[in-house]
Symmetry: C2
Subunit: 186 residues, 2 copies
Amino acid sequence: MQIMVLRLGHRLPRDERMTTHVCLTARAFGASGAIYSGQKDNSLEGSVERIVGKWGGEFSMEYEGKPIQRIERMKREGWAVVHLTMYGMPLPEKGREIGKKGREIGKKGRVLVVVGAEKVPAEVYSLADFNVAVGSQPHSEIAALAVALDRLQGGKELERGFQSNFAGAEVTLEPSEKGKNIRKAY
Amino acid sequence: MQIMVLRLGHRLPRDERMTTHVCLTARAFGASGAIYSGQKDNSLEGSVERIVGKWGGEFSMEYEGKPIQRIERMKREGWAVVHLTMYGMPLPEKGREIGKKGREIGKKGRVLVVVGAEKVPAEVYSLADFNVAVGSQPHSEIAALAVALDRLQGGKELERGFQSNFAGAEVTLEPSEKGKNIRKAY
């Protein structure tokens, strides 16, 4: 399954850290890239790119001025669009269907996961193939994204072997019961 | 299983939104309360308490000036202490053991989940019964918390029926395929 994450409505300075965490979560949980809309933020892009350089793997980071048109285009290209919203259907009721739809329409199984910031335009709800709730309570788009990516991939992104996805890293970690076990490539 | 979340090292204004999301994630994912250390923040406490008032259920919110002593005390009281850190052991390798230890030492199964902000004191690594990594990559304490709580509870916090935990709400949501279905109690 190929996963991309679209973060809507980035606002400066309010969302600086939130959007950084959205992008880093996307990367750590196996998405191949993040797209963000709202205000263009070179500092955000730099932060994410520095992490990718240091911690390895491939991860694209891109600004999109017209997110609705981008969602429409990705749908035409065969991406299943999953909008995470607390108003949506419970994730456990939709998880299997999302995976199936991703494979059907995308052949390789391509899923675009959309997360909002403050107010999400109504078009997103109608364009989405699935409006999915990670709990029907207010909490955090970062939490929702992490759990959705975990479920979509059956948890494989948390296993030891998944670290092989982050090739070319300057720094890698060896899991440790107590303390820190860091390896540097240089 | 009873779950409490301890957020270490809250800094103003840098962590305002992050810590709010940590606490709201704790609540939405079934923790019975959050404790935070670092800088005292009345605005944070007010934000969380407003959400609890509007969206229902019981959730305690408390400031702790001496988090290390608090962890020691809770250990003595029978809480299993789980520190989430990217340096720790992969969550899938420890999940079952955590649940078991929580039940053994706490009888009712009590787990204290600790999440850091910038730099976590070394004592936390040695005091923790488990240092657990939600992926061995840098991302977000909010993401780590959400996935850990999801795994510890076997996903039940995302099911429709879990909403009954949030009694006395002014507002509840009915899951919806498209759009928003909001019910107000007044």
